[in-house]
């Protein structure tokens, strides 16, 4: 008997319902935001890969004539990090801001969108375009 009144007041408690609604809409914003961001960062990775390979094709030997093993390794590492930077940013910020609010999460992700633009793909080398 005592349980029925506990179950019944589902309807006359709008504050709880609206709070759940607010949380739900925040989650929906976050979910849509993450979908868009994931797409952007995947495109960034593709852009970096295409841009770097285009540059490598344009100037086959950019470094010194005979770069050492360490230098070669670090050059490859740098290029790999650049390609991975977008997805890495998305995943890392996702993990590191688990305990933060929606605004903080999206702000950090947005910073990555601004910083990691693959300009190497977007800026077409003028010298090759002119020649």
């Amino acid at each position: 008997m005592s349980e029925n009144p506990g179950v019944a007041p589902k309807i006359p408690s709008p504050p709880a319902a609206s709070r759940a609604d607010a949380a739900g809409s925040a989650n929906r914003v976050l979910l849509v935001g993450y979908g868009i961001l994931a797409g952007i960062f995947v495109l960034y990775a593709i852009g970096w890969a295409l841009g770097l390979s285009r540059q490598a094709a344009a100037e086959p030997v950019t470094a010194a004539a005979a770069p050492g093993v360490l230098e070669q390794f670090l050059t490859i590492l740098t290029a790999s990090l650049a390609v991975a930077s977008g997805p890495l940013w998305f995943a890392s910020v996702f993990i590191l801001t688990r305990k933060n609010g929606t605004a903080v999460k999206l702000a950090w992700q947005a910073l990555g969108v601004v910083l990691l633009v693959p300009w190497i793909f977007i800026v077409v080398p003028i010298s090759s375009a002119g020649a």
Partner: protein
Amino acid sequence: MTDTGIPGEDRSVVPGAVPNAEPEQVADTNAPAGPKKDDSDPVSDAISDDARSSARGKLGWLSITVAVIFGLFYVYAFFTAIAAIVEFPRTWSMGTLDAGSAPWALPIIALLLPVVVFAAAFWIGLRRNVFGKALIFILGLAAVAALTISLNVFEASALATALAPVGV
């Protein structure tokens, strides 16, 4: 302690929240289910020790080691930027280039980038455990790599623009 210490990156842990002077004792009373708690492997011991000092905002030896190892890569980026900024005036004084129009901001930003990003990564990761610190250092390194390449692209683009009238 190993199970409770590692996964949560305890940013919320207030230093001094545990009134007991010995965290090990607290862990033992909290986890009575683990009978062989004392003979956990040294690796997770080291990690949890480090996590405990990180929660207090101090640096354990493991955190320092991680910072130094990742720091070497930042140092490499810094030296690369030094080499680039030394080369910069020579590049921009060749031919009929007006040396005054050289975009000095680009190599200067590239030079500051590893230093600033390392400091930021160090500061952001201060209260996190060693995995969080490592992740932040890797992310910073990736950001430095991407931004440095972008700055090089901007410089190459500016150089091509400056050289264009000469070529035509």
